[in-house]
């Protein structure tokens, strides 16, 4: 894998600042960094936590495939994607993507592309734990996420 690409799937939390510092250390060719952080929302107070299940091995492989495509397509200087699994409480971090490029639009597009495909192609599933103790269900895939992914086709 390209040394400028970092992929991790882990139970523990991550530190966006440390990941950014590692990506830019000693480099003068990076003019733009775009980072995306996904957080666990409380859904109007109803939610206590999410349980993130993943397919070990395939999750990393699929994220690496998406990252390689993003690097090439947008000419990125670096790309980091970290996704957590296990129980994640309201307000906690779920996913981090950082894209580095010379100019800002490539960095924005690279991070956005990575997230759109991470949502729809990387094997992760969310189950809700509700605050009132009732059984939460599996989160359903959103048509909006597929539409977001499809905007990258043919352009």
């Amino acid at each position: 894998m390209d040394s400028a690409v970092t992929i991790r799937v882990q139970a523990e939390d991550f530190d966006a600042q440390a990941e950014t510092a590692r990506m830019t250390a000693g480099r003068g060719d990076i003019g733009a960094l775009v980072s995306f952080t996904g957080l666990c929302r409380d859904e109007g107070g109803a939610l206590e936590a999410l349980e993130l299940e993943h397919y070990p091995g395939m999750a990393e492989a699929e994220m690496a495939r998406i990252a390689a495509e993003a690097m090439a397509r947008f000419g990125l200087k670096g790309l980091t994607a970290i996704h957590r699994f296990g129980r994640i409480r309201v307000g906690e971090q779920i996913v981090l993507v950082i894209a580095a490029a010379s100019h800002r639009q490539a960095a924005f597009d690279g991070a956005n592309f990575m997230m759109d495909f991470l949502k729809t192609a990387a094997p992760f599933w969310k189950k809700e734990h509700r605050r009132d103790g009732t059984a939460g269900g599996w989160v359903e895939a959103r048509d909006a996420d597929n539409a977001a992914r499809d905007k990258w086709q043919g352009s």
Binding site: E62, H83, W125, K127
Partner: protein
Amino acid sequence: MTRLVYFAWVRERIGKSEEEIALPASVRTAGDLLAHLRGLGEEYEHALQFPEVIRVAADHEHIDHDEAIAGAREIGLFPPMTGG
């Protein structure tokens, strides 16, 4: 023998996270596999009753239902992804 792995509500409904099974020679595609599994018991029928929504991966790569699964050591079955 082929290793099957299940995730999310597919795993919950089948009642196990993985198993090794011998597939008959007539099972050539991912779609054939889903049809075959539905005949193995009501837990499979419950998990796979809407096969068009089930995603299939062969050796950690997504495949379509009409693609061949010959030679795959591990096949994953799971619902649409909701990470990120």
